[in-house]
């Protein structure tokens, strides 16, 4: 671990409205994923595994589950003396309170927090992406280039490039151009929304941005283009691993399914870069005499008496006798009762599908079925 001090600011305030029923009561980074995790586990584990021990988590939308889940960061070994995880919600001052108006504004309002740690560098992260990255390597890259800002990028298929913020660089990884969703992309390097700033420059630019009435106070749309136009030293750090933004129901479902199979690209079992979580202690899961599980992830506390195929069963979920679960995700405590059939569906936490109900469809042209937390689906409501 280098002696240069880098802290992380983790943006976790968004509602994630495109996750629909899954974020009705909780923020997107708090949504369950992968059988026992919550989405924010991945960013926090990355920080811990990269030796970044000071993390400010910026919250705003329904943060209660997120707050109690994160606590002091102990579950990620981030509760260090003089460091650790801090929850940073919007707050009131003498002149009243202000909500976070954009990613840059959220960090702007916590400049005092950053200054308290006197870091050399600040890493800006999102709390809703799935990937393993050693940020320390990105930091080394940043230092080696003597950069003002380093943007983490990854190659995407050319035909999809126009959906991303696309970066054009020179042979030395210096950024020449940044275009948000270009119609005719001249590069297939997409920004991952992960930035390392020199602290002084970040604070200066955030203050400028705050005073700019035209700005939307967004890193991608405002801060980066501004720095580029000023001729600052912006460099890339290329990432080539598994990376997903699980921001929509479709991508949430698809990414969950990608964890299955013999050799999934994202290996939950890799020991040198563990994904940590603040999980509760539950007994092993039980498979009944007629239970049948194929190509699936099954969490602790589950009880499976029916048939489960190509699915993710999170902690404490239940599949009754003669019930069938296919291509589906059961979030913690979800119940599929006797004789029910669930296909290509996402069942929210503690939701229930009643006896003999059929939910979802194999027809992939139809939307994935989503049941919100605590919802009970009875006969006639399918």
């Amino acid at each position: 671990m280098s002696k240069e001090k880098c802290i992380a600011m983790l943006l976790a305030g968004g509602q994630g409205s495109r996750l629909g029923a899954l974020t009705r009561n909780i923020a997107k980074p708090a949504v369950s994923f992968g059988g026992k995790y919550r989405i924010i586990d991945f960013a926090l584990s990355n920080c811990a595994n990269s030796g970044i021990d000071t993390v400010g988590v910026l919250t705003q939308y329904r943060p209660y589950v997120l707050h109690s889940y994160i606590g002091t960061g102990e579950a990620w070994n981030l509760d260090e003396r003089g460091a650790g995880v801090s929850i940073l919600p919007p707050y009131a001052t003498e002149t009243g309170g202000a909500w976070y108006e954009g990613t840059a504004d959220a960090v702007y309002q916590n400049i005092g927090y950053i200054e308290g740690y006197k870091p050399d560098y600040v890493l800006i992260l999102s709390g809703d992406q799935l990937y393993r990255m050693d940020y320390h390597k990105m930091l080394e890259n940043h230092i080696r280039h003597n950069a003002d800002l380093t943007v983490s990028v990854m190659p995407v298929p050319w035909e999809e490039a126009s959906r991303f913020g696309i970066i054009t660089q020179d042979d030395d990884e210096k950024i020449l151009k940044f275009t948000e969703k270009p119609k005719k992309p001249d590069s297939n390097l997409a920004s991952m929304g992960i930035y390392i700033f020199n602290t002084d420059l970040l604070i200066e630019k955030l203050k400028e941005d705050h005073n700019d009435p035209q700005s939307e106070h967004d890193f991608g749309n405002n801060i980066i283009p501004k720095l580029l136009s000023e001729g600052r030293r912006l460099y890339t750090f290329e990432f080539n691993g598994f990376w997903r933004d699980v921001g929509t129901i479709a991508s949430f479902h698809e990414t969950s399914m990608e964890l299955l199979g013999e050799k999934p690209e994202f290996d939950l079992y890799a020991k040198d870069f563990p994904i940590m979580s603040n999980a509760s202690t539950r007994p092993p899961h039980y498979v009944g005499p007629e239970g049948d599980i194929d190509d699936s992830l099954v969490g602790n506390g589950c009880r499976v008496f029916g048939s489960v195929k190509h699915s993710v069963l999170s902690t404490d979920s239940y599949v009754g006798p003669r019930a069938t679960v296919v291509d589906s995700i059961l979030l913690p405590g979800a119940k599929v009762k006797e004789g029910a059939r669930v296909v290509r569906a996402i069942l929210g936490e503690n939701s229930t599908v009643e006896e003999n109900v059929t939910l979802g469809s194999v027809d992939v042209t139809k939307d994935t079925a989503v049941i919100g937390d605590d919802v009970v689906v009875g006969k006639g409501e399918e």
Partner: protein, 366 residues
């Protein structure tokens, strides 16, 4: 704020020693896949609000300390009270049937002196049950007994158990062995703290004895009462008993009695991913712990954390310890395979239901 503190005697090795307990004290024997025996007495105390728990250590205490740490996972990592590590007296407790040696308690008298609670709940780590201690405390307080022991009607004949001779709810004596229907002692009792301190003085000359051995002549003077427990309990004193009682957990009704809602069994937290089933796996009537990866066939078995069962491997009626790897084509039947074992392709390990085969613990692999 319970009225009691707790003592768990974790320094008892099963008399009928097997390869399993040669390498660790009985208290750290794995149970129900991801637990250790000591999790059950610890959780019983914590679930009824006890926040001061002393654990009497065996000579080989490392595995217990590794497991319980500062007690954080049992909410016992506290500024006041919390978990106390109590060294056992020099020679440990290997005498037959002696789980509550006076000298172990006397050696840690300060723990009792410092407490302010009126009662002490004492239990060993060899009997597994999930019990609400609140009615026990209430019963003990209301009868004004010196000691109240927890018993149940023995469900079989077993010379390894202890049983009590009870008249009108009062214990008149105790003896080794229990026959079906007798009052089997569940190695758990509640005692007035002041009485326990006095008993240490009364019996100072025979401190090598178990508390109940010392009491043998005095059941007419000391008021020992009985409290009947009606739930599931398993006494672990032999390897066969360990195997048999483990397998009972495959009965969902028994699993529910041991892991009821509202009285969770706490254990050391681990960062283990969910279990993964590959295409072609076939698992029936089994308990599978997190982190296991299954491509083979498993029936009527219990798997610890991080077990790998490769394609074409078969596991039947067996206990498989944490981190065991079972290669393709291997067959395991009626066996206990302790942690970290590597079972090569094609190997067969077969015991019989009456004589279970034990494959002892293997050193850690890299």
């Amino acid at each position: 704020m319970a009225q009691a503190i707790g003592i768990i005697t974790a320094n008892y090795s099963t008399q009928n020693s097997s390869m399993l307990t040669d390498v660790r004290p009985a208290a750290s024997l794995p149970y129900a896949g991801r637990y250790r025996l000591i999790d059950f007495p610890m959780s019983n105390l914590v679930n009824c609000g006890v926040r001061t728990v002393g654990v009497v250590m065996p000579y080989n205490y490392r595995s217990i300390i590794d497991h319980i740490g500062s007690g954080k996972d049992w909410s016992l990592d506290r500024k006041n009270g919390g978990l106390f590590i109590l060294p056992g007296s020099a020679f440990g407790s290997t005498r037959e049937g002696s789980r509550f040696l006076l000298r172990d308690i006397d050696f840690n008298r300060l723990f009792l002196d410092r407490a302010t609670e009126p009662y002490v709940i004492v239990s060993s780590s060899n009997v597994i049950f999930n019990m609400d201690y609140d009615p026990l405390i209430d019963c003990h307080a209301s009868t004004g007994a010196d000691i109240t022991i927890v018993t149940r009607k023995a469900t079989c004949d077993d010379p390894n158990l202890s049983s009590a001779w009870i008249e009108d709810g009062r214990v008149k004596g105790m003896h080794r062995g229990a026959k079906y229907g007798e009052d089997e002692f569940l190695d758990t009792f509640i005692i007035k703290r002041e009485v326990l301190l006095k008993a240490l003085d009364w019996y100072a000359a025979v401190s090598h004895l178990d508390l109940f051995e010392a009491l043998a002549q005095d059941f007419d003077k000391v008021n020992v009462m009985d409290y009947q427990f009606n739930g599931y309990a398993a006494s672990i004193f032999t390897t066969q008993g360990y195997f048999r009682h483990s397998m009972e957990l495959l009965d969902p009704k028994i699993a529910e009695e041991l892991f009821p809602e509202g009285r969770p069994v706490m254990t050391k937290a681990h960062d283990t991913p969910p279990a993964k089933y590959e295409t072609g796996s076939r698992v029936r009537n089994s308990l599978v712990s997190a982190g296991s990866r299954i491509s083979g066939s498993i029936t009527g078995s219990i798997l610890g954390r991080g077990v790998r069962v490769e394609r074409g491997a078969t596991v039947r009626n067996s206990l498989i310890g944490q981190g065991v790897v079972i290669e393709s084509g291997a067959i395991i039947e009626n066996a206990i395979v302790d942690r970290n074992n590597f079972i090569p392709a094609g190997t067969e390990l077969r015991g019989t239901p009456e004589a279970v085969l034990v494959k002892e613990k293997s050193p850690e692999r890299h």
